[in-house]
């Protein structure tokens, strides 16, 4: 049976893409041989196809790969604190906090309040949420009092010496991590 023009034109794309079934291909080619209008359509489509497939690739800008890789390195570098060893840093930070507390003007010695003193305060503040008992709050207050008393008992010189020592340890303990970070930044 002879193929109609509309049927032929629907199959022209598949013919051009090389994805037409063999039996249809023969029918389309026969139709094209005898139909000038469809042949013209085919030639126009073919010109579009050839132009698209033969367009040369443009050379990417020099430095694009290097720029991509620099961004990749920058993004994949872990945050500085992810590389630092936590213990020396924590000791140094603790001692700095101690100095801060120590230099408060005339810090009085603190005694832990008794349960009887605390109870009305918490009752007034309506502290009644689940899991926080008055006992626990009392323990925290007692711990805080002990810490402040301990710090005030130390001489300023001892505190400064301990802090310098802790900061020194923190730096020494993290030298290799800092070198790694610097090397990545340079790269």
């Amino acid at each position: 049976m002879k193929m109609r023009c509309d049927e032929c034109r629907n199959l022209l794309h598949e013919l051009i893409d090389g994805e037409i079934p063999a039996e249809k291909r023969a029918a389309v080619e026969r139709h094209l041989a005898g139909c000038e209008a469809c042949r013209h359509e085919y030639e126009l489509l073919k010109a579009v196809d050839v132009s698209l497939s033969s367009e040369p690739l443009e050379q990417p800008p020099t430095g694009l790969v290097a720029s991509v890789m620099a961004n990749v390195r920058r993004r994949s570098a872990p945050f500085i604190w992810a590389e630092l060893k936590p213990l020396p840093v924590a000791i140094a930070a603790g001692l700095l906090l101690a100095i801060f507390l120590f230099v408060q003007p005339e810090l009085p010695a603190v005694s832990a309040p008794s349960l009887s003193e605390l109870a009305p305060i918490y009752a007034e503040a309506e502290v009644s949420f689940v899991g926080v008992s008055v006992d626990m709050l009392h323990s925290i207050s007692a711990l805080k009092a002990q810490l402040v008393n301990f710090i005030t008992a130390l001489s300023p010189l001892t505190l400064v010496a301990l802090t310098v020592l802790a900061i020194g340890l923190a730096i020494a303990g993290n030298l290799s991590a800092m070198r790694n970070i610097k090397a990545r930044q340079t790269a």
Binding site: H13, A47, D49, S53, Q59, R75
Partner: protein, 190 residues
């Protein structure tokens, strides 16, 4: 999809965090990715930005790639998604190269075609015309045309990369080419 020259070992190493293996992937795909982006947006600056985004996204998503499946369809699906997002955000880049002040081919080498300057002149006019017409196609048609011709993907591969039914892909490809053909026809009459 044409067989990749990148061996699976390189992709596996990059997936496990080997930076030099990842750089090998970037070097290998940069020409294709840059040209794909360029044909999508027709602007060199935007094409560079898009290429950057594609490779950065690849770097952050590579650990999720299922190594038992082919790499290229997965990677090009990711690349197309980045291009879609970029173009949706940056409509200002939709300007033909020829109309951008200061834009010239200087500093951008073209691969040698082995044609005479006269042949190249006629061809480059047609290329320029088609390139500008491709840029005017709606994005769903443009991406199917760009992928089809830059990667020589079959209908089935296009459907896989674009994550669309094959019928939709064929329909979009045919309609895109019809639009370009109509434009060429009109020019022939003028």
């Amino acid at each position: 999809m044409p067989e990749t020259e990148l061996d699976r070992e390189t992709i596996r190493a990059a997936r496990e965090g080997d930076e030099s293996a990842f750089e090998k992937i970037v070097r290998f795909y940069t020409p294709t990715i840059y040209n794909m982006a360029l044909r999508m947006c027709n602007n060199r600056e935007a094409a560079q930005d898009m290429s950057q985004e594609i490779f950065l996204r690849l770097h952050s998503r590579l650990s999720r790639y299922d190594a038992s499946r082919p790499f290229e369809p997965w990677f090009f699906t990711l690349a197309v998604n980045v291009c879609r997002n970029y173009l949706t955000r940056s409509r200002r880049y939709e300007v033909p190269l020829s109309q951008i002040s200061g834009e010239s081919d200087e500093g951008f080498e073209r691969a040698s075609t082995g044609k005479t300057p006269l042949e190249e002149g006629a061809e480059s006019d047609l290329h320029q015309l088609i390139r500008n017409e491709v840029k005017k196609l709606p994005l769903p048609y443009r991406e199917v045309i760009v992928l089809r011709y830059i990667k020589e993907l079959s209908y089935e591969e296009l459907a896989e990369v674009l994550q669309l039914p094959m019928g939709t892909v064929k329909n979009r490809l045919f309609r895109a080419r019809e639009m370009l053909k109509q434009r060429l026809k009109k020019l022939q009459r003028e």
